[in-house]
Symmetry: C2
Subunit: 391 residues, 2 copies
């Protein structure tokens, strides 16, 4: 069979042949076609009318579908005589969508789309449909912060752990300044990269800060799966929400951040929030550690089935209201987890614990969580915020 690695070398030679051509050669003519080869596949192709064309070369496949967040149903692709499968969807509302191909039952990312969703599994691609006016997550002509990749050896877990940290604009230029920090947790299927690559937390904060709507802050995005090993893929879901992650966060991660980043290091300067599984982690850890966190957010949250999760918070509502500056809960009306958030808000209401609860149009998706971050972040670390029971 063909040696892939030598094939790549040949492709490199082919790809660079264009450099010898005159500068007037049309830039849109794919290099490969000059060699009589099949033209490169473009997928997804986002057209100006916001329709999107998906393509996959799979001559041996019997059935190919594309399945994305724009619909609850998959769309079949049609095969041409060359084994190229094609489908067009939309026009789609401007947004960022997850999608995947289903090839004879196998879920795979779009191989020609370099924007893959960072996740516990590699099955999902990212589609961005721009709008006529900028969306809250777009890269605009404003000062930009930086996303930093860190790794640390977790003593509590005995493994190497990865995380991402957003530092706001000005962080490098003001070496004496200290900042508040939001610990932002991901859901069960996700990883430490999801909140930036798909959630665009960095760009959302850049835009909020530039508009004067949010305080400059750090965002720490850890790996919420406490039992992932480094070199091998371990199944997700193993006690994710339990003590291993909490121990890692409290004993290893927070000390690492406070030693390596310029953060305020006070409860009033620390927030914790998350989505789905990460929401449950944020609630459990945040509400049991008032000495660490004064701000807690739960986006489309799961709730751990532990009797003790909210025992501390509900046992002494007055102390809870004094300790926490904001407890913010949001969930989409189309989310199966909505009853969990409703029950949680009812519990807080019954005990007179100040909180904010938002039910929104939307499902269990970053399409909603990007909006939630844009609603939540402006409330953080403000002198005036104290939370009000809105439901």
């Amino acid at each position: 069979m063909m040696n892939l690695w030598q094939c790549l070398a040949a492709a490199a030679m082919c790809g660079i042949a264009s450099a010898a051509e005159p500068a007037s050669a049309p830039a849109t003519r794919p290099a490969a076609t000059r060699r009589g080869e099949a033209p490169p596949i473009v997928s997804p192709e986002v057209r100006s009318d916001r329709t999107v064309v998906f393509r996959l070369r799979a001559p041996q496949a019997a059935k190919v579908e594309v399945f994305g967040e724009w619909s609850d149903d998959a769309t079949p692709l049609a095969k041409d005589d060359n084994g190229l499968w094609i489908a067009t969807v939309g026009p789609l509302p401007p947004d960022i969508y997850e999608y995947q191909f289903i090839v004879d039952g196998l879920h795979i990312p779009d191989p020609t789309n370099r924007h893959v969703k960072p996740s516990a599994t590699i099955t999902t691609s990212i589609l961005e449909v721009p709008g006529d006016t900028p969306l809250l997550h777009e890269f605009l002509a404003v000062p930009h912060g930086t996303v930093r990749l860190y790794s640390y050896q977790s003593r509590s877990l005995g493994t190497l752990r990865s995380l991402r940290v957003y530092t706001p604009p000005g962080y490098d230029q003001n070496p004496e300044a200290r900042y508040p920090v939001l610990y932002l947790l991901h859901g069960w299927g996700d990883s430490e990269g999801t909140w930036t690559d798909l959630g665009r937390a960095n760009l959302i904060l850049d835009n909020l800060i530039a508009a004067g709507k949010a305080r400059p802050m750090l965002i720490v995005m850890p790996n919420g799966h406490a039992e992932f090993a480094r070199s091998t893929s371990r199944p997700a879901g193993q006690r994710n929400g339990g003590q291993p992650f909490e121990r890692d966060l409290l004993e290893d991660l927070i000390p690492y951040i406070e030693a390596n980043c310029r953060v305020e290091g006070t409860p009033a300067g620390r927030a914790i929030a998350g989505t789905s599984m990460g929401g449950a982690q944020a609630l459990t850890i945040g509400l049991n550690h008032p000495e660490l966190f004064a701000w807690v957010g739960a986006f489309s949250s799961a709730v751990f089935r532990s009797q003790s999760t909210f025992a501390a918070a509900t046992a002494n509502p007055k102390a809870t209201n004094e300790a926490y500056r904001l407890i913010w809960i949001g969930c989409g009306k189309g989310d199966r987890l909505l009853p969990r958030s409703q029950e949680l808000a009812a519990t807080f209401k019954d005990h007179g614990i100040r909180h904010q609860f938002v039910e929104s149009d939307g499902q269990h998706s970053f399409m909603l969580w990007r909006q939630y971050l844009a609603q939540f972040a402006p409330r953080l670390f403000q002198e005036s915020e104290n939370g009000t029971a809105t439901k």
Copy 2:
């Protein structure tokens, strides 16, 4: 059909159920099995004897193979009664390997391996086989630098561009210090993330710096494909090596780096190197811009078919020898591109241009390029280095 996004929500609920269990529950029992579901798939599984087990659930597939850098041939997987395909390879020498599954002719990454190769296409996973003694790319108990994700609006290209920057240990703690910088370019199939996620440039430098073998330096890793758009996947290979990338580098990227990072900003403090297509870019740009770069490296390089690439360097060997502190060329003996490097070295030799040329055991692979970086980086920015003709 099943709604994927609600399925994920259900999975989140399933995954966190374990939190309510007593702490003594075996941590290795997958959560999903408690619900009577199929156990999660583990792939790749690296065993202590350095054999590796690959698994893929694809009940409808007729043929599944695994194809990795440990062999020129693919290994067939065998299917069990549940549609799970399994193969075992090795024992493998300790190293990092690229691999992919081939499912009825379709090349895909291992969906259960979160370590996917950042690339122009998403088809390849990363397998790390640890050794008994640490390898040059391993995360060790030494001071660690940081990898930063940046984006910038390229005026010359009219597009948003991503890059990664390694800052060495101590960078944040010494806000007055300035550092030399290596611009490190990737090959045709790769992207700005490949040199860290697969090439481990950051860890290699951490280890070299800790051992006193390399000077603390920044490494700037741009996107070498000058015509990738932001939201859509454009075919790679379109004039990659020509003027668009060079214009972006010279007019946008270098000014961006010098405005946003603390670099020395002199030719003696700037190096440029790359692999394959990136090697050709490094040679073309580096050797035509002695006012910018004094150090040039080409790893398993392609060579652009332009008569002018080396015209400036060969026209005045004396000036070339005065301008460049190091011209370093390395290529594997198993690489189809070896003749290009040999011809290049012969040209330099004919003209009396000082250079170093290394022929190594190895192919067109990061398995070799990690070693090359570890050989090249220690020579950079040293007072004593001036290059010698070794061949």
